[in-house]
């Protein structure tokens, strides 16, 4: 066994009670992220990626219940911490967050300086004592994320910046307290292609420079290939496959990953898709949730509880085919 990973999510199940019934948003999510590495979480929209990212931060919808699981981070289970402790010790301090849409994520009626410095005031590392020191630190960071005129930036309002600039602001804000982990929730989806590339490069170099691990949520395998050391694929709230990025892309084992990669525009010549639809979390199919759309579906699939099986070194898959290859009996 190697050293304990920085972040390990085990068998996480989460449901949300709504008007139309109970939605099982997450059902058996597993992932592990070693210190300093980048893990991509890939899936179609609505598969629970963003819920997972927020769950690590302890931010849930009011009606949400955690049914089971652990989120181990730096040796403690975050699910056991109170909201107060999460605020005091974890959010913005040990875990930084980069949101999906930088246009909506900054409070429109406060100056940039007021927003970023407020977070630093609560969560700055102890060596940054005093407003002046924190300000200087922040200005350094803004320069580091390549924002022009960092001093003037603090006095401006969010609507005076472009999307790419705002995302740089968010990155600076997330890094300010020197966290051990960054959670990025599709940070480039709302940006145009050239800006996307710059932001990705910036994120890669910053995480290396500061030795920060990153959980990178995306729907784009192209981004994963450029950025991530390892990749986890989710489908309808279940982790279906996880492994080193290169290996997973070269040799996808789960039928869903295979199908998803086959319809990636870089790889396929014709526009294709996966037949069928992502099931509603209100009435998910039993067992493996991909069964109704799977070419390899068998009768056993509806009874097989989601569970990752080692199918190759460091490569885990949750599928009856992997069970059969590895000779695993399921209960």
């Amino acid at each position: 066994m190697t050293a304990a990973p920085l972040l390990a999510v085990k068998n996480l199940r989460l449901s949300v009670r709504g008007d139309e019934g109970v939605a099982r948003i997450l059902d058996h999510v597993e992932l592990a992220l070693p210190r300093g590495e980048i893990l991509g979480v890939v899936g179609e929209s609505g598969c629970g990626k963003s819920t997972l990212a927020r769950a690590v931060l302890g931010i849930f919808a009011k009606a949400a219940t955690i049914e089971s699981g652990e989120i181990n981070f730096e040796g403690e289970d975050l699910l056991r911490l109170s909201d107060r402790e999460m605020t005091r010790r974890v959010r913005g301090r040990r875990i930084g967050f980069i949101p999906q849409d930088p246009y909506l994520a900054l409070n429109p009626v406060f100056k940039i300086g007021a927003q970023l410095l407020a977070a630093l005031r609560w969560h700055a590392p102890p060596q940054l004592k005093g407003e002046a020191a924190r300000r200087a630190e922040l200005i350094g960071l803004l320069r580091r994320v390549q924002l022009p005129e960092p001093e003037a930036t603090l006095e401006r309002y969010p609507h005076q910046f472009s999307g790419g600039q705002r995302q740089r602001l968010m990155i600076a804000g997330a890094l300010a307290a020197r966290p051990a982990l960054l959670i990025a929730d599709e940070p480039t989806t709302a940006l145009d292609v050239t800006t996307q590339l710059q932001i990705l490069k910036l994120l890669k170099s910053l995480t290396q420079e500061y030795g920060i691990a990153m959980l990178f949520v995306t729907h784009d395998f192209g981004v994963v290939a450029q950025l991530c050391d390892a990749t986890t694929v989710m489908y309808a709230g279940q982790t279906v496959e996880t492994g080193p990025t290169a290996q997973l892309l070269a040799d996808p084992r789960h039928p869903y990953t295979q199908a998803l990669l086959a319809c990636h525009p870089d790889r396929s010549q014709t526009l294709s898709g996966i037949p069928g639809q992502v099931p509603s979390p209100l009435a998910p199919p039993p067992g493996c949730r991909f069964t109704p759309r799977c070419r390899h579906a068998a009768e056993v699939c509806s009874r097989r509880p989601a569970r990752l099986v080692r199918d190759a070194p460091a490569h885990f898959v949750s599928c009856r085919l992997a069970d059969e290859r590895q000779g695993v009996q399921h209960a």
């Binding site: 927020r54 931060l57 931010i59 909201d83 999460m86 605020t87 005091r88 974890v90 959010r91 913005g92 301090r93 930084g96 967050f97 949101p99 999906q100 849409d101 909506l104 994520a105 900054l106 409070n107 429109p108 009626v109 406060f110 927003q115 407020a118 977070a119 609560w122 969560h123 309002y157 609507h159 005076q160 968010m170 804000g173 997330a174 307290a177 959670i183």
Partner: protein, 336 residues
Amino acid sequence: MLAFIVRRLLLVIPSLAGLLVLTFFLIRVVPADPAAALAGENATPAQIAEIRRQYGLDQPLYKQFGVYLTQVARLDFGESAYSRRPVAVDIKQRLPATLELTIAALVFATLAGIPLGTLAAIYHNRWPDTLLRILSVGGVAIAAFWFAIELQLLFAMDLGWLPLRGRLSPGLTAPPVLTGFFLIDSLLAGRLDVFTDALRHLILPAFTLSLGGLATITRFTRAGVLETLQKDFVTYERAQGFPPRALIWKFVLRNSVVAAVTQIGLLFGSLIAGAVVVETIFDWPGIGFYTVQAILTADTKVMLAVTLLIGVIYAIVNILVDVVHGLIDPRLRDDG
């Protein structure tokens, strides 16, 4: 910011013009014979004819309207039949009392309504929210004149804690007029006893007057906070580890009060209407009291002047509201 204010000023011109036309119609066209009305019940036909000529009522309507406009522009509203003094002088003297009362009510409604609305939003759909909802609906449902009497009954007559009526106790002289606001003038004159006395007189009327506004501001703050809590930036701020208290009371609240501030502008009408009732009951020597006297004695000149005054104040208040909006929300300043 200056261009922003000028643009808002231009926008109120049509409403004020409409108000001038409406008031003109009310006093010159609606009454069957305004000259007879002006002359009084016992006037002879000759006297009525004289008055008709004197007031230009025999002229064509558009000429009468022109005369009316110049009179309004010169603030010449004639003499009040009730006080026998020029209407403009009466108003100048009484306006500060009403302003002091309404501003006190508005300040109280805002200072109490915003925190209450925020509390209701924090406890969304739980009992404090339900209770505040019933209370705020009740605040609008209560008849101000009755509530004022009940307050007088309890706090002035029964308990004797607060004075029954007026702006100042009979033994005290008003402070020298600088602003016309007793609370400010008394402090400027260094008369702490007058200040306390004026404040004690202000409490019951201002509280009565604030009820409707308090209710409205509470509900709009609640709706605003609930809406803001759904915003992405709140999730982001939480993810950044903002403590919930600072998050709500500073970062969410500033976004949420815009709707409530708009209401303050719209509230003005009900505040003036409320002032009419409240001033009557507490013998508050302001415009509201004056207006009721004018209406009861059919003093059309005063009614006209007061209506125009209210229209102008209404316009000013709404411009102020826009400016406050601009101060709260920087986006409005740049592109509005």
